[in-house]
């Protein structure tokens, strides 16, 4: 879309042959002498120690799951344990050159990676830094517990801290890394650069790209690695993440000073199995995993296959690739060959592979070969390594004893979980600094919107010309530009955010004001749009992602439902999620572009859900969302973008203001009947109220405007007054959030009700063509007829639409 990039027909139609770079396979040449010089004996032995530590840690878990005890200590671990026994060299080799500033994100099988990265960080950090980290983390809760059984000095205390924090987390204890709320598949420890592991296959890919974007945009040091499995290449979001990471614009359009492409390394821990399927030869067609990089960019993502059974081959690759990444030449793909001896999980009987195959890999077990290497080249003596092994076991026994004990390691009282769902830490800027902008604020389009009429009617109540009045879309713009100029970390992106100004013009004028790295067009990758935003936000930045149509939420289902919603609570409050996902609810564009899916996200714990219906709220609620620290699904109505403020007297303030979180608002006061709406149906309700007033029925209209959190008190107060209530929105009636609201009202105001709580939604059909929408979306007549048929027979009223109770049964029986 940018005008400065020409799409030349001659070039596009030119014949020729596309050539691609060669991809090295296991190119590392071991050289004992060079390795001794590069690492020194102490580091080589430390690598072995870390590999043994991981092996022992997971062997302990394996015994507990299969035999119920380890070294005489019994424990029943109910939760999961996806073990990586056999993959230790890949984890330790990777971490050797990583600093605490480098982030790793993992998978469900990442115990080894978090331990390796933590042990590496402990080695690099000074005693004082380590102590400070442990003291500060969760107010020293873990450290205090570790001190009850570990009397060691640094760095051994820190090693006990890591082993205990990880194990207590796996056991679901309040003294774990994430208070037990993450568990085995989600344990992580940000101070050492260990970011969340993810129970969704490939779930870390786009999140890691978002973290890399954060580092690049905010000029933070370090690279980011997504440790995901070979089978995750069957997942769309992984491909979306790679497309997002490889966008040309980082180099063609972004200011070179930003630093180029996000420093992201996709490390596929290629253990050759995905559940019971075998990507190579069975479920995928790439033969060699690294081949897929050829399809991503001309550099083929600098892809290599590396030998994950040799820690030094892995360490070497990371050292080389981090230089590329730091210089802005990413993304990188590594096909790290490895193998797990253990099953997918303890329930896996490994029926899908031959015992002989496992034995062949066991014969090449990296622990055995690396031990032999250390002995052969004089880096250690056999008894020295035996002692090291014994010390690890001893350490593991102490850690297990403490983690298994409910006295030492209690569970988090469930009463505290609710308090973890939202962080509720509004702040003007997520980091200090001067926001990068291209124009002084007063020279931006804001000057034009501020000059507009702020209310749709003149003093006599006559409508003003629409072009002269601030619209809903422009009200959103004012909130966006305000925060862009306040918070240097804030970025916004979506499929048409720059130049076009957003498909509905909300961002018009921002292209001129905000540099590329803070406002850009993304690939058509809804999963990656939301997933990267999750990674950006959890890294400490504010982000506004946009889905052009609500209907596209399905494309980002995992990212919205499992990632955006969950990480604050799964981190026990360690992470914040200042992510606002703008979602536009359409109309006129048929079945796949006109759906209101508010109920889906309101159902998912951990999300705030907002839906302004007037320009005043559009600005005040977006202001609220953009100063918050919590994930917000911010619905907007395409019907309303061009509309001026017609309800809130005084119109849209020019200055900054926020709508109070979760508070519904009375749009029209009345005494006889309450109508509560969500979204654009407000205007239908206002018309119905006007009609009813002519029959002497005084209607109170309430705009819920929030779905979660939602204060029911004003609604209940109204229902207590009127005794009659109808709920309406454009969402399809079945499963609509209004039914949740109806159920709550019935319970909270039962004795005050003069009739059932009635819900009017859109029909349970596909959305028909634009010309037929009146048959589909709630109309004024539907509301009047529903009131007449179900709540309050109206004088001289003849219903023309089907709102009788019978239709509820008939329609449900038919499934429509």
């Amino acid at each position: 879309m940018p005008k400065n990039i020409l799409i030349d027909p001659f070039e596009a139609r030119q014949p020729g042959i596309l050539t691609a770079p060669a991809i090295p396979l296991n190119a590392y040449m071991p050289d004992a002498q060079a390795e001794a010089a590069r690492y020194g004996s102490a580091n080589l032995v430390r690598m072995y120690r870390d590999m043994c530590t991981i092996r022992e840690f997971e062997t302990m878990l394996d015994r507990l799951k299969k035999e119920g005890s380890y070294e005489g200590i019994s424990y029943d671990h109910r939760g999961p344990a996806h073990l990586s026994i056999g993959q230790e060299a890949a984890a330790v080799g990777q971490s050797f050159h990583l600093t605490p500033d480098d982030f790793i994100f993992g998978s469900h099988r990442s115990h080894g990676e978090i331990l390796a990265k933590s042990l590496s960080a402990i080695h690099q950090l000074g005693e004082a830094e380590l102590l400070q980290i442990m003291e500060n983390y969760l107010n020293g809760t873990i450290l205090r517990t570790v001190e009850t059984f570990s009397k060691r000095d640094m760095p051994n205390l820190a090693i006990d801290f890591v082993l205990y924090g990880a194990l207590a987390e796996i056991f679901g204890r309040a003294t774990g890394f994430n208070r037990g709320m993450g568990g085995s598949m989600h344990a992580f420890f940000p101070p050492f650069g260990v970011l969340p592991n993810n129970a969704l296959v490939g779930g870390s890919a786009d999140i890691a790209v978002g973290a890399a974007l954060f580092k690049r945009v905010n000029r933070r040091p370090g690279i980011v690695i997504a440790n995901i499995g070979d089978a995750s290449l069957g997942c769309g979001p992984v491909w979306e993440a790679m497309m997002f990471a490889a966008m040309d614009q980082y180099q063609t359009l972004w200011d070179a000073e930003v630093g180029g492409r996000p420093p992201i390394l996709f490390n596929f821990m290629n253990n050759f199995y995905g559940m019971g399927g075998q990507p190579k030869g069975e479920t995928m067609g790439f033969d060699v995993l690294a081949r897929v990089a050829l399809g991503v960019n001309p550099q083929a993502m600098h892809a290599e296959r590396i030998d994950g059974y040799n820690p030094l081959a892995v360490a070497d690759a990371i050292m080389r690739k981090r230089k590329l990444l730091e210089s802005g030449q990413g993304p990188v793909l590594l096909d790290t060959v490895t193998y797990r001896f253990s099953g997918h999980s303890p329930s896996d009987a490994s029926t899908y592979r031959d015992r002989d195959e496992v034995e062949r890999w066991r014969a090449q077990d990296s622990l055995l070969s690396f031990r032999a290497y250390l002995l052969a080249h004089g880096h250690a003596q056999g008894d020295e390594l035996d002692q090291l092994q014994a010390a690890i076991r001893e350490r593991m026994v102490a850690v297990l004893q403490a983690a298994a004990s409910l006295e030492i390691s209690p569970r988090l009282p469930s009463s505290q979980i609710a308090g973890l769902m939202f962080s509720n830490q509004p702040c003007d800027r997520m980091a200090e600094g001067t926001p990068d902008v291209l124009l002084p604020l007063e020279q931006t389009r804001l000057a034009q919107t501020l000059a507009k009429h702020r209310f749709g009617f003149d003093a006599e109540g006559k409508p003003l010309p629409k072009l002269r009045v601030l619209t809903y879309a422009e009200a959103l713009f004012e909130a966006m530009i305000h925060r862009f100029y306040q918070d240097p970390t804030m970025v916004a992106y979506g499929e048409e955010n720059r130049d076009w100004g957003g498909a509905f013009g909300v961002y018009r004028g921002l292209t001129e004001a905000i540099p590329y790295q803070r406002l850009f067009n993304s690939s058509i990758s809804e999963a990656a749009i939301v997933g990267t935003a999750v990674g950006y936000a959890m890294s400490g930045g504010r982000v506004v992602a946009e889905l052009m149509y609500c209907d596209f939420m399905g494309r980002a289902g995992d990212e919205i439902f499992n990632q955006m919603a969950k990480w604050q609570a799964m981190s026990a409050g360690v992470l914040q999620m200042p992510l606002v996902l703008r979602v536009s609810v359409g109309s006129k564009y048929g079945a796949q572009h006109s759906q209101d899916w508010t109920a889906l996200v309101a159902h998912i714990p951990g999300l705030q859900v907002m839906f302004p219906a007037t320009p005043y709220d559009a600005k005040g609620m977006l202001n609220l969302a953009l100063r918050g620290s919590d994930p917000v699904i911010f619905f907007e109505s395409q019907r309303l973008y061009p509309e001026p403020e017609r309800i809130v007297a005084g119109g849209v303030p020019t200055e900054y203001y926020e709508v109070p979180l979760g508070e519904p608002v009375v749009r029209r006061a009345g005494t006889d009947l309450t109508i509560v709406t969500i979204g654009a149906t407000l205007y239908v309700a206002m018309e119905a109220a006007e009609t009813l007033s002519q029959s002497g029925i005084s209607v109170e209209v309430i705009d819920a405007r929030f779905l979660n959190p939602l204060n029911y008190e004003p609604i209940i107060a109204s229902v207590r007054k009127t005794g009659k209530v109808l709920l309406a929105s454009e969402a399809c009636e079945r499963g609509s959030f209004l039914h949740t609201m109806a159920s709550n009202i019935s319970q909270l105001a039962f004795d005050a009700l003069d009739g059932p709580v009635v819900v009017v939604g859109a029909r349970n059909w596909i959305t028909p063509p634009a010309e037929m929408e009146e048959e589909f979306f709630p109309q004024k007549e539907w509301l009047l007829d529903a009131i007449h048929e179900r709540i309050l027979p109206l004088p001289n009223h003849t219903p023309n639409t089907e709102q009788m109770l019978d239709v509820i049964v008939a329609r449900n029986r038919a499934g429509v």
Binding site: R790, L792, P793, M804, I808
Partner: protein
């Protein structure tokens, strides 16, 4: 929507005091044609058997109530309209909508609460909501049609615990606070629920069994008796009192000059006099109990159980403690006659603070009278019989009258009740002196 219409037939209200009627028989069967004004069915009120005329010409489409049903007035009982199906004139729903709220007795929680709060019997209301549901506006309409209330009476009604009479003692029938009557305790379950396990004889096949549908009054009695025993803890104490003064006074009054107007004074009147005076000293027995509150009364409004051809009635002698013996006697007689002839008004049948029931003339020595809710005590008077009394050195046979006091042991303890009986016995024994009080 169908364009044909049908007319809902509501059970008429045959007079102000009629709350419900029993369906005696249908004169038209479903499908039969009926002219406007032609009788559809016969119903029995507590006063008479009356025919219900059809409000419209057409075909009887539905009989909504069955023979023997006790139907509140203004309840839909039938549908008359075109053959086939029809919409409806009054209520906005078509006949075939099975899921519309049931037509009888459906009432919204809000309407029920309001009706309860203002003391309206919600079963009497005609619903204007969907499917004939009684909704708030129906209660409000009924309230508006009610007698005018003073602000005090309104606030008392709103607070609850009182019922408003049809008309009050204020100017133009305005209901004053003092006109309100105490609300009784919640009604007990209907008799047929309680006795569902009891085998019902079949009068058509079993010889010697005659099925007699009970009257409205009997139905009320049945409900109240059951509610009384069902919701309170009743304890009866028995004792006797020296009746020589009673008999002596009765003899003297009978023989007194006619001009004094004392000849009609009965033993029962003398007992009422003694009871009213004794109650003044024992407000805990001259009390009402409702909603966790005991209301002690300074005034004695004495209920008097009266047998009538239609069943038991309890007229109330107001301010019995202030009446002379002669006035008390004539008031008791007047009320009893009103009950016998069916002329007692609701006002005369409500508002008692204590009830007296006399079975002495029928030879009963003692019995266990049942509380008249929400009163906390009822006194049964038994027959006068000779009782051996030990004197200085021998035994004398002295006439004694039986006293049976039932109390609600929930709120009245045994000892105060016994002390009441003790004082009453003293008053009776010394009635000549008490007359001077």
């Amino acid at each position: 929507m169908s364009t044909s219409t049908a007319t809902l037939v509501l059970l008429p209200k045959f007079g102000n005091s009629v709350e419900s009627s029993i369906i005696v028989r249908w004169l038209k069967q479903i499908g039969e044609s009926v002219a406007e004004g032609e009788a559809l069915c016969e119903v029995e009120t507590d006063k008479a058997t009356i025919e219900v005329p059809s409000p419209a010409a057409g075909v009887l489409l539905e009989q909504r109530v069955a023979v023997g049903d006790d139907v509140p007035v203004q309840t839909p009982i039938a549908l008359v309209g075109d053959r086939g199906r029809g919409g409806m004139e009054r209520a906005p729903q078509s006949v075939d909508r099975g899921l519309q709220p049931a037509l009888t007795r459906a009432i919204s929680p809000r309407a029920r609460n309001l009706a309860d709060r203002v003391g309206l019997d919600s079963t009497q209301l005609v619903g204007s909501g969907p499917g004939g549901r009684v909704i708030e506006r129906d209660v409000q309409a009924a309230l508006a049609a009610q007698p005018k209330l003073t602000p005090l009476a309104k606030s008392m009604l709103a607070k609850g615990g009182f019922l408003a009479p049809q008309s009050g003692s204020g100017p133009g029938g305005r209901v004053l606070g003092k006109d309100l009557v105490e609300e009784s305790l919640p009604a007990a379950p209907q008799g047929n629920e309680v006795s569902s396990a009891i085998r019902q004889p079949d009068s058509e096949t079993e010889p010697g069994v005659k099925a007699v549908p009970i009257t409205n009054i009997r139905r009320v009695i049945a409900q109240r008796m059951h509610a009384s025993l069902h919701t309170t803890a009743q304890l009866t104490q028995h004792r006797t009192a020296d009746a020589r003064q009673l008999q002596a006074l009765r003899k003297r009054f009978k023989a007194s000059p006619e001009s004094l107007g004392l000849r009609a004074i009965t033993i029962n009147d003398l007992m009422l006099f003694a009871i009213a005076r004794t109650l003044l000293q024992h407000p805990e027995l001259n009390a009402l109990f409702s909603e966790n509150t005991v209301y002690l009364n300074e005034a004695v409004h004495l209920g008097l159980a009266v047998e009538t051809p239609r069943g038991l009635l309890v007229p109330v002698i107001r301010n019995a403690h202030m009446l002379s013996l002669r006035d008390l006697s004539s008031e008791a007689r007047r009320l009893a006659e009103a009950c016998q002839t069916g002329k007692a008004t609701p006002d005369q049948l409500n508002g008692g603070t204590f009830t007296v029931s006399n079975l002495g003339s029928l030879g009963i020595d003692s019995f266990t009278p049942i509380l008249n809710l929400p009163q906390v005590a009822v006194l049964g008077i038994g027959a006068i019989a000779l009782k051996p009394i030990e004197t200085d050195d021998s035994v004398a046979f002295i006439p004694h009258i039986g006293l049976s006091l039932t109390i609600n042991h929930q709120v009245v303890d045994g000892a105060p009740a016994a002390r009441f009986l003790q004082q009453l016995a003293e008053y009776i024994a010394n009635l000549d002196l008490v007359l001077a009080i």
